[in-house]
Amino acid sequence: MITLGHYLVVSGMLFSLGLAGVIARRNIIIVYMCLEMMLSAANLALVGFSRFHLVNGLPDYTAQSLVFFTITVAAAEVAVGLAIIVALFRSKQSVDVESVTKLQG
């Protein structure tokens, strides 16, 4: 039987995969994709809690509203982030994270 725990473990594993990608990968675009994966993993946990916390016999729609806001923020973040990547590529001719070291002490 599929319990809330199953969904939470899948969510945690997806988040961990994204975290590993953010730390290990050097291509900025792929780092961005991994960030999106982490946001989605958080959404899965929220929707899971929403389904199993019944209010008046219905799922808790407060959590699903929060997921709606998260998806909106993620979309805005991707738009701005990719614009930054394009600007970065224009000045450095590279999307490697290690090509951007100007702020390093």
Binding site: M1, I2, T3, L4, G5, H6, Y7, L8, V9, V10, G12, M13, L14, F15, S16, L17, G18, L19, A20, G21, I23, A24, R26, N27, I29, I30, Y32, M33, C34, E36, M37, S40, N43, L44, V47, S50, R51, N56, G57, L58, P59, Y61, Q64, S65, F68, F69, I71, T72, V73, A74, A75, A76, E77, A79, V80, L82, I85, V86, A87, V95
Partner: protein, 192 residues
């Protein structure tokens, strides 16, 4: 949802997620991410969150992935080959991921909350129609009485009833984001 389907979609989500993290070609990674999001949308559907599942496919697997692919092809990013591998980063990344997963499994295993299933917490649609009563719109109550879950209507009702201000703040955020993108991608003119 039958357990088999849950495991299938969880496998799709995590398998393609793994491909995103390990893939060498950015286009492969983007397509794997789209597939992973489709699996995730199926998991949302299995949690009776139909609206969120559809939004997940439309926004993530649709709009966001097209944006990623567009940028990858616009910048003409090649597969990273022959570059030396950053061993400390990979080791620390894998180590952190494994530790986090183990922690989450431990926490989930130690709480009673995690044992809830859709069998022991079933949706009570007919009761909900009575309990919500006059507070909701008649269309929601009618849907509940006929035994269907008016998912999108309930989310819309929650958003506009309780989170109207937050919705406007999000709208403002999107406006600021749009302006930011225009400013960022404007080519700088040389000083006159």
């Amino acid at each position: 949802m039958p357990p088999l389907l849950f495991y299938l979609f969880a496998l799709i989500t995590l398998g393609f997620g793994f491909l995103v993290v390990t893939g060498r070609n950015p286009v492969t990674c983007a397509l794997a991410l789209a597939a992973s999001f489709v699996g995730l949308a199926a998991l949302f559907l299995s949690l009776d969150a139909y609206f969120i599942g559809v939004i997940q496919i439309l926004v993530y697997a649709g709009a966001v992935m097209v944006l990623f692919l567009f940028i990858i092809m616009l910048l003409d990013i090649k597969t990273e080959e022959g570059k030396k591998i950053n061993v400390p980063a990979i080791v620390s990344g894998v180590l952190l991921a494994v530790l986090l997963t183990l922690q989450i499994i431990a926490v989930v295993g130690s709480t009673e909350l995690a044992n809830k299933t859709s069998q022991n917490t079933p949706l009570a649609l007919a009761e909900a129609a009575g309990k919500i009563g006059k507070a909701a719109l008649p269309t929601i109550t009618n849907d509940l009485k006929t035994g269907t879950l008016p998912d999108a209507k309930l989310i819309g009702f929650t958003l506009f009833d309780q989170y109207g201000f937050h919705l406007q703040v999000i709208g403002l955020l999107l406006l600021v984001g749009t302006i930011g993108v225009v400013v960022l991608s404007k080519r700088e003119r040389s000083a006159p």
